[in-house]
């Protein structure tokens, strides 16, 4: 069930009305949310509901067992470790089988053939359960946090199941943390005017970004990337810009809609994007782009790995500096899908982080515009990071290593007869997004639009709605991140 479909409109209207009718009875509301989550997910393929159910039951039970298992004795410690490993194995087995089985088999067979051994690969042509990477990471973080004693496990299976299958963010995030979400599930929600106001804006802005911006500029990106040898150097540049606009508008729109409809129900989800186009450096970029994933990777891969390495050697060795960012970013790349281009994208960002750590002496973490730094330097850094991020997007969108090589070596400012119309289309659809983002950046407020003067606000909201009706794609198109 796509957010941008009529089916979802009917579904959400029905769920929301029932939710509001239940009023203060938040436990019944939770039951409703659970049923809604399973209907929402089962609408794609009811068979995969079993995966969510098994994942939920496993992590709930292991959470309970971890809670009652003492870590005061060596045997208890051992048992707790075993429980954690069990949870990780179950979750990663599902993920590995459904997402990576064919990829690993294909590459294993290719490796064997390099060694002169030929064999028929066992290809299962497995259907990828939508959103599996999102909810698997969400449930894993719960068990790890309980194991680390950073989180008290819930004793209600219903509440835990709602946390896992909360429909607004079930299939494309944000990847929630139990510490943020569970207390909201376990207690009565109060829907404030602030939440309604911000929720409505987020939903409207999200739909605008998806239907007007992403789906339209995506046409340019698809056209150029799918026929990259037919276009001139400037077209390749436009294609990369169009794709970066598409992927940002598409993915952030899902997060916005998810967060918006959650707010309408009294829930606060994690912020997933903070204007990544204004990043000053690679570290800054990952604090602005898909934050719920990058922070997940930071907390559960980067920090633990760095701790282990520092325990072995406290000096700033090459290994200590290079391995954690590289492994984390490779995991990020592979998380996006079983493809070497994603792995390469991860490696590219890993390399950027390593270089940044090595050479950046004065990180602009505090306030780049506060007077300590020259505006020219700040803008230069922003432009450099913008260009580097776009090299990353070129790698990300390409379907083969050959395509990456071809496109990078053919980028230029030489136009073709199509360039002007591509630029006009890109500008007309991306300019509202750019304008709003500049306003948000200047005000340092992602909700700056809702604080515009009354007439300007009414005009902006109305314009967004009119654009959605007039320029919106007529058939609902899937969100890019569903495939991950």
């Amino acid at each position: 069930m796509l957010f941008n479909s009529l089916t979802f409109l009917f579904f959400f209207t029905a769920v929301y009305l029932l939710y509001m009718l239940l009023g203060r009875r938040y436990k019944l509301q939770n039951l409703l949310l659970l049923v809604a989550g399973y209907v929402f997910y089962g609408y794609w393929d009811w068979r995969f509901l079993s995966l969510i159910a098994i994942s939920t039951l496993t992590d709930f039970s292991i959470g309970r067992l971890l809670d009652i298992t003492s870590d005061q004795t060596p045997a208890g410690k051992q048992r707790r470790k075993l429980l954690l490993v069990c949870s990780i194995i179950v979750n990663l087995t599902f993920l590995g089988f459904f997402k990576y089985f064919d990829f690993f088999v294909t590459n294993f067979v290719a490796l064997l053939s390099l060694l002169g051994v030929t064999s028929d690969p066992l290809m299962l042509q497995i259907v990828l359960p939508v959103g599996i990477s999102f909810y698997t990471f969400q449930t894993m973080s719960y068990t790890i946090d309980v194991y680390r004693k950073r989180l008290k496990p819930t004793d209600s299976l219903l509440n835990f199941a709602v946390f896992v299958a909360f429909f607004p963010q079930l299939v494309a995030g944000p990847i929630e943390r139990a510490a943020n979400m569970l207390p909201q599930v376990e207690n009565r929600r109060y829907i404030t005017t602030e939440q309604l106001n911000a929720g409505f804006f987020l939903v409207l802005w999200g739909y605008f970004k998806k239907i007007v911006v992403a789906d339209n500029v995506g046409l340019i990106a698809d056209h150029i990337f799918n026929n990259y040898t037919h276009f001139a150097g400037l077209d390749i540049l436009i294609g990369v810009l169009a794709f970066s606009t598409q992927v940002y508008a598409d993915f952030s729109s899902y997060s916005d809609i998810a967060r918006g409809i959650s707010r309408l129900m009294g829930f606060e989800l994690l912020v997933n994007f903070r204007l990544p186009q204004f990043s000053l450096n690679p570290a800054d970029f990952w604090n602005r782009w898909h934050i719920s994933l990058s922070h997940w990777l930071r907390d559960y891969i980067f920090f633990p790995l760095r701790r282990v390495l520092l325990r072995r050697n406290r000096n700033a060795t090459v290994l200590n500096l290079a391995l954690p960012p590289m492994v984390t970013m490779l995991a990020s790349g592979l998380w996006h899908g079983p493809s070497w281009t994603f792995v390469l994208w991860g490696a590219f960002h890993g390399l950027l982080l390593i270089i940044y750590q090595r050479f950046e002496k004065h990180p602009m973490h505090q306030d780049p515009w506060g007077g300590k730094h020259s505006p020219v330097v700040v803008i230069a850094k922003m432009v450099l990071m913008f260009v580097l991020a776009h090299v990353g997007w070129l790698i990300f969108r390409s379907t083969s290593i050959h395509q990456i090589g071809y496109m990078i070596t053919h980028v230029s400012l030489i136009p073709s007869r199509y360039s002007l119309s591509f630029i006009a289309m890109l500008l007309s659809f991306a300019s509202p997004l750019v304008l709003v983002q500049i306003h948000q950046y200047v005000k340092r407020d992602l909700l700056a639009i809702i604080k515009l003067p009354i007439l300007l606000r009414l005009s902006s909201y109305s314009l967004m709605l009119v654009w959605i009706f007039v320029f919106g794609a007529r058939e609902p198109l899937e969100f890019i991140y569903f495939q991950f």
Partner: protein
Amino acid sequence: MTITKAQNRPGGTGERLYKQLPDEIASSPSKREVLFNVLGPLLVVFTINLIVLGYLSRYPTNRGYWLMKRKWEILQTMPAPADWLILGDSSGNQGMIPEKLQDELGGTAVNLCTIGDIALFDDVWMLEEHIEKFGPPKNVIIVHAYDVWPRQAITVLFAKIPRPWGYWREFTPAPKLSTRDHVNIFLARYMPLYAENATLLKVLHWATHSPQKLFKDRYHLEPGGYMKLMRANPRYVESDTREQIKFVENRKSGFSLSDINQTSLEQIIALSEQYHINVFIANSPIYEGLYENKDFQAYFSKVQMELDRFAEQSEYIHYLSTPFTFPINQMQNTDHVIHSAAEEYTEMLALEIAQTR
């Protein structure tokens, strides 16, 4: 997570390592403000939609939509029943001249032909409407192009028939519509902002480039419902011929009536039997260059056989199987003629009807 304005200030409790990161700063709107933010834009969009609806109703830009609306209006405002009710698609709309038919066959005639994309729904529904309003007409002529018979109806066109919502349930055959169809019909009928976005872009283009086009009556019908068109388009006829040849090549394996056209024809037979109405089914004009194509002739003979089979079911149904062909300089595409050919076509058809009677 939302932080407050106070927290966002330097020294506030919302201190973060990356201070340059934008956040969601809370505000405390009143209920009235929230209501304004939600309802205000909806009201603006509703108003704009209403303006667009009014504009397109007064100055329509889609000939097909306009034709359907206008022909139904003619039927609904006719002062007296017609002796010759001419039904069918756009090939009949600009091919059949009622005055000419009256001259040849006597009685009164009205051309209610609309467009092929609604298949035979329009024919049978208009006939039922006529029966309900005036009683049965004496004669009905149905004109369709050869490619309409296998077509399914585009249900969204039901929105353009000026009758109250849900009218399609009152006619036979009543189409089976899904929820999705209902939504689409609703949008096409009441939400031009969504359903006619391409038209709106065209109108916006006029507004900026040639405003004189904005308030102009674009289409015109003769008093009997006939659309008189004077300019041939040989270049388009040629490209359309290539398309039509592709169309018939794709149907080499066989020809069959679409289920909805079959049901509609059965209903027409039933009505003709019940009310003793003479129904004449005629072929549309055809471009002679297309007719010379062997694949086309093979396809066309299958159409003829199928319609003959229907005609045999009732003494009131007559299929006029003669193909009426015209040269390229008398056509706008492969089955739409200009006025000079329309006169000839109507005359030839009248002659054949006279012979059949």
